[in-house]
Symmetry: C2
Subunit: 410 residues, 2 copies
């Protein structure tokens, strides 16, 4: 196989470093990938394929970290966005899209009675904490150790530049550990406003954890008896595991659910939904932003959710994810390698056994990138509607070659 | 003059209230305008004109609360956005637009050496506070009493659902009051990380305040001698008072400047810029968001800033703003009314003398809205490139009629 090279990408990265802190920040940083074995900049995309600035083509399994559930440049979504663009993007008042998207979400997300729109995932997870606090008159928010609920002060994984007081009243337990939750409830009895969970646990640089059979039933029992608001952070899983919210997939009943990423196939919008009982608190909390009213992402979201419903997208994603998993695991086995492939098939996390520093995973994923398959060594991958059988076949073929390289380098 | 009616708007508002907290939140709420005398939903826009869902046409002086500096649906900006849309909106990596916009901003904003992109204004004002804290190893942030620096916990104007600890280490002084700043410095000596100011003071429901001749010189002297980071929140004024940042208009030299709103003519993006000395701190602070990398708003921003430079937009805005001011004040005088018309002509705030509860302003602005001139009774207005001489003439004519109504109702 011809190996890609990335001259223009790394030249541009050097330019970027002169103008932008860290050049590229967050999990898109070349340093969080496999430095030298990945591109740094893309220039166009179509379906499951993207092209970098050196002209290399990739099958993309990151989908912009989960936004592109239908693939890049979905014609129907983009047409809806362009139609709205011709009428206007940002207005002094909301547009007709406001009620339309609200109606779509309230109908779509099972058990939810109202919705509000933000821009980032953090906008709505943070709003959810304030609603829980306002509703209960309590202060403590419980989340999951190692979970990512956004980049705001209260939940950032970094403490740099954040006074410690800004993280007060937040504590965490391990996913599935009901005993740990009970212990926190005992320690903070009467002061716990809400518990925030992702549908399953999908941390960076660690195996994903699916909920145990009794976990959500136990958690809901504790929330009910203690008057704790159950908040689901469905930003990464939402519209990927189930059409009506991931709580339908895992069989639980949150009070408040946060969405983002896949809801508009890449257009910038997030949303919160909630049960009627929490609407007065949602109305008392201040929540706004100039760009929260932008109409183009709302038009894109309406189109995206329509396609998800109409085209059996969830089932197709699942089937594709299973094929990817089976192919990858077969190749690993053929190479005599032990891998851990965790989470749901549409958003798997893969790592190697005995690879605590992820150096083997970086080698594997870097070699895959140089052969046109874009995985991530530290973050879960994403399957999208654009991934074809040919994509999966090619991916599995490339993976076979990369597993062999790993084996030879062990 | 035929008066507008708003049947469909208020019917839709009732629908919205069933699905969305408060129906419409933030300063776009019908309750923050003049309930019953304003539309609630727009459906399309072109230049300075917008149309509501009942078919009424308006000259819009809110410009989506400041984003639409060139007017709605600027053909060049929208073409750049659509071109990018055809290549892709959200990618797993940044696109070529990343470096392009960074280069544009670093060149454009005088004295700034680096930039980073967010989505909301709050994303970057909050990032600025962390950079200042990280850079200095101190905790206290000083801002201006009554100023709006965003909706995040540390600066929200509401306390609902926010633990009081989350507002620790923030204190404020009155704009222009150097004595007040010196007092805070004395009280928090050695612990002040940064001071954040808007270029001039533009609070809601109060007169704007321009900087006194010696204010910024004095402030800069204090910042230098105390090692305090000088942060400018140029989100509302930026690319409106001066091509190169409002600090050039008011003659000061901030260390860090935050932009949003006008920088992309309505597409959702914000940016922070800073001097080289603060880049290491910016690199140490965690700052990211899935949608921060969306390419369409970057393409729109590049096009917007290009037009601002090429077409003498700042001068044209100023001339339009002066015409609006002179016309409004002449009509008020003719009607024998005392009004206060404060701030910069491109973003004026108008209120009536002896109207502490703003009821007179609500009457005036509501009557204007019913005649096709969209002002805001509680928030500063915005002039855009789309406002024509005919718009100003019509606005002044409508204002004359509305001032008479106010006079008759006093």
């Amino acid at each position: 196989m011809k190996l890609y090279s990335f001259e223009k990408s790394y030249k541009m990265f050097e330019e970027a470093k002169r103008m932008v802190p860290n050049g590229i920040y967050g999990p898109r940083s070349p340093y969080f990938l496999t430095y030298g074995s990945y591109p740094c900049f893309f220039t166009r995309g179509r379906g499951s394929h993207v092209w970098d600035v050196d002209g290399n083509e990739y099958i993309d399994y990151m989908c912009s970290f989960g936004t592109n559930v239908l693939g890049m440049c979905n014609p129907e979504v983009d047409e809806a966005a362009m139609d709205q663009m011709k009428r206007g993007e940002s207005f002094t008042l909301p547009t007709d899209r406001w009620n339309e998207l609200a109606a779509v979400l309230v109908k779509q997300v099972r058990g939810m009675d109202w919705t509000a729109f933000g821009k980032n995932g953090s906008d709505v997870t943070t709003y959810a904490t304030s609603i829980a606090r306002q509703h209960t008159g309590r202060k403590t928010i419980i989340n999951i150790t190692g979970a990512y609920n956004g980049a705001h002060f209260w939940c950032s994984h970094s403490t740099a530049g954040i006074p410690e007081e800004y993280r007060a009243h937040v504590c965490s337990f391990n996913f599935n550990d009901l005993g740990g939750l009970e212990k926190l409830i005992g320690e903070h009895r009467g002061d716990i406003a809400g518990v925030m969970l992702t549908p399953h646990h999908h941390p960076a640089m660690a195996d994903q954890v699916l909920p145990d059979a009794d976990f959500y039933r136990g958690l809901e029992g504790l929330c009910k008896s203690e008057g704790i608001v159950f908040i689901m952070d469905d930003i990464r899983c939402g519209f990927r595991l189930h059409e009506n919210g991931s709580h339908c997939y895992y069989g639980c009943e949150p009070d408040i659910i946060c969405f983002g990423k896949a809801m508009a196939n890449g257009y910038p919008i997030s949303a919160i939904t909630g049960k009627a009982a929490f609407k007065p608190a949602a109305e008392a909390v201040y929540f706004t932003g100039t760009h929260f009213f932008a109409a183009v992402p709302m038009a894109a979201s309406i189109a995206t959710i329509n396609i998800i419903n109409r085209d059996s997208v969830i089932k197709k994603l699942f089937d594709t994810g299973v094929k990817l998993r089976d192919g990858m695991l077969a190749q690993a086995k053929d190479a005599g390698l032990q891998v851990r492939y965790t989470g749901h098939p549409v958003m798997p996390f893969m790592r190697f056994e005995n690879d605590a520093d992820f150096s083997v995973n970086r080698l594997f994923c870097g070699e895959a990138a140089r052969r046109g398959v874009f995985l991530h060594p530290h973050h879960n991958w994403f399957v999208c509607l654009g991934h074809s059988q040919a994509d999966i076949d090619r991916t599995v073929e490339v993976a076979g070659e990369c597993f062999k390289i790993v084996k030879e380098n062990k």
